[in-house]
């Protein structure tokens, strides 16, 4: 179960963005990818989501070889929250979430699909936005709508590219507890996060990405050690012990 990535390499037609990446994302846990801007985090998520095609390496999701799955089979297995999103037409929140059902729909979504969309909207806690035009929402509200869309899709693995960006503190806390809920109901969540403190407070497992390669941990080394973070982000940081992990302070 979970996601298994083996010797995955990728380039956009120029320099390699990912070079022989190998790691495991344990099933039923909240895993977080950390790394600098441009280290290949978003590309990695897109590859696992099946958005980008890859030639070298292997990706297995819940034991299925991603290469052998059709677009709609992938969608039933993996849900993906893209980083930026701005549609042209002012669809209502309900209609946007309903598009998450595409891999189940023949021509037009039925009653069951509408129910699933409503459930997802309630679960994220945005029922009050149901009939609002998506284009008129704040960045944070849009983020929640797109997360509801991922949930309506009913995937086993949820990939989130910076899900906390644009969210205020209360929505951040709400989303993190929602992620915890999803994980305890058996889903696998893999997210790219920019804020190491949130990552270390809430994540179960960590994938460290540096210059398109996995930065492996040495013996006894932990992701929240200041030396590890200095190496990963190329800046000086100090850490304060907090609970059984650490808080990161940039200096």
């Amino acid at each position: 179960m979970g996601v298994t990535v083996r010797e995955l390499s990728f380039d956009y037609g120029g320099a390699e963005v990912l070079q022989g990446v190998t790691f495991d994302v344990p099933g039923g846990e909240f895993s977080i990818i950390l790394g600098k801007n441009g280290s290949g985090k978003s590309t990695l998520l897109k590859l696992i989501a099946g958005i980008l095609p890859y030639r070298q390496g292997h990706i297995f999701v819940d034991g299925y070889d991603l290469k052998r799955l059709s677009v709609s089979e992938k969608a039933r297995l993996v849900g993906y929250l893209p980083q930026f999103h701005a549609p042209v037409f002012p669809f209502t929140v309900e209609d946007v979430v309903l598009t998450g059902r595409a891999s189940f729909v023949f021509a037009v979504p039925g009653r069951r699909d509408r129910e699933k969309a409503r459930e997802a909207i309630e679960r994220v806690g945005i029922s009050h936005l149901l009939h609002r035009p998506y284009t008129e929402l704040s960045g944070g509200e849009r983020q929640l709508v797109m997360i509801a869309r991922v949930l309506a899709q009913e995937p086993n693995v949820v990939l989130l590219d910076e899900p906390l960006s644009h969210l205020d503190l209360s929505n951040q806390v709400r989303l993190l507890s929602l992620i915890r809920q999803l994980v305890s109901s058996g889903l696998t969540v893999l997210a790219v996060l920019h804020e190491p403190n949130i990552a270390f407070l809430h994540g179960d497992a960590f994938v460290l990405l540096k210059d398109g390669k996995i930065r492996t941990l040495g013996r006894g080394e932990r992701p929240w050690d200041s030396a590890t973070l200095q190496d990963l982000y190329d800046v000086a940081v100090e850490t304060l012990p907090f609970r059984d992990r650490a808080l990161v302070v940039p200096i």
């Binding site: 095609p53 037409f89 002012p90 595409a102």
Partner: protein, 333 residues
């Protein structure tokens, strides 16, 4: 209730349009007599007057009214489907070069008698869209910007071709071509209705099937792929029927401007952006819109005004006012 009312609009309009027209030979008293004979209220020999009514209503007005409705529906459905497909409210059948391609084909057929008009126009319309599509096609995907650019180039090529055909054609046939490019419905006949009804209804049914997928596609390629639709495949599945109905319409009625661009906007202002509502509404409202305009066009003057001029003159200002009033229903991006 409102829905039933909306979908019964065409029936009323079609019946009404049958009894409106400039022909002096048709007097209202004869029409009444003719209806009474038709429904069997009175029996007896048909007079010359009722025979004339019979001919004008059944062989002149009925095919024209039906053709007008079909053309209006086709252009509007095609336009709104293309707008959803390209995530761009400024797109219309003209933008892909398909109108220009179809027009070139038709002009060629009018100049060279051996070529069948409908088929030639249809084939060149498809060729034009195919050209736009393949010029714009990158390694893996077709980007919106490059597709629109390609459409402009292809339009230019076929418009130049059309001009060349006009240049080398003798003056007598030239007049027919010029008239045809202005868009007109007064040459409507049962032959034109039967040649266009099948492609238009087939394409319309196909687009109706795709109507919800248009929503998914208009959110963006990555967003469509993430939920399990292959954007390239879905785009072709929308592009083909949208092209089919638009070229079928150009083949019988020439280029009728504004309908494919303006009417989808008017509909969207009422229904909102959900294509599940837009597509069926486009069939009804698009046909009704053109029918009303054509009925006016053939009634107000003693001579035939080309419908293309009328749709631009009426649709243009109407569209501008609506656009200003609606506070722009879509995002600037």
């Amino acid at each position: 209730m409102g829905t039933i009312l909306f979908y019964s609009i065409p029936v009323f309009l079609i019946v009404l349009s049958l009894f409106v027209g400039p022909s002096d030979v048709v007097r209202s008293a004869d029409i009444v007599l003719w209806i009474q004979q038709k429904v069997g209220v009175i029996s007896g020999e048909q007079s010359d007057a009722t025979l004339m009514v019979d001919a004008i209503i059944l062989n002149v007005r009925l095919p024209r009214v039906l053709l007008t409705f079909l053309v209006g529906s086709a252009l509007t459905m095609s336009g709104s489907a293309l707008q959803a497909l390209f995530k761009n409210p400024l797109v219309s059948p003209d933008i892909l070069g398909l109108s220009a391609g179809a027009a070139f084909g038709a002009a060629l057929a009018l100049a060279v008698h051996a070529l069948p008009l409908q088929l030639t126009s249809f084939v060149f319309g498809l060729i034009a869209v195919g050209m736009s599509y393949f010029i714009a096609r990158g390694k893996r995907s077709v980007s919106t910007v490059s597709l629109i650019l390609a459409g402009i180039i292809v339009s230019g090529i076929f418009t130049a071709g059309l001009t060349f055909v006009q240049f080398v054609t003798d003056p007598f046939r030239l007049q027919t071509i010029v008239h045809w490019t202005m868009g007109n419905l007064h040459t409507a006949s049962w032959e034109k209705v039967t040649s266009s009804v099948i492609p238009i209804l087939f394409g319309a049914a196909w687009l109706l099937f795709m109507r919800w997928r248009m929503n998914v596609i208009s959110l963006g390629d990555e967003e469509a792929k993430a939920v399990g639709l292959n954007p390239e495949k879905e785009k072709v599945m929308i592009l083909v029927p949208a092209t089919l109905i638009a070229t079928a319409s150009v083949a019988v009625a020439g280029i009728i401007a504004m309908v494919g661009l303006a009417v989808p906007h008017m509909i969207r202002m009422v229904t909102g952006p959900d294509n599940r509502k837009i597509q069926p509404a486009a069939f009804v409202a698009g046909g009704s819109f053109l029918l009303v305009i054509d009925t006016i066009a053939r009634t107000v003057a003693t001579f035939e005004i080309p419908i293309g001029l009328f749709t631009t003159l009426i649709g243009g200002p109407f569209f501008i006012v609506l656009l200003k009033k609606s506070r722009m229903l879509y995002r600037e991006n």
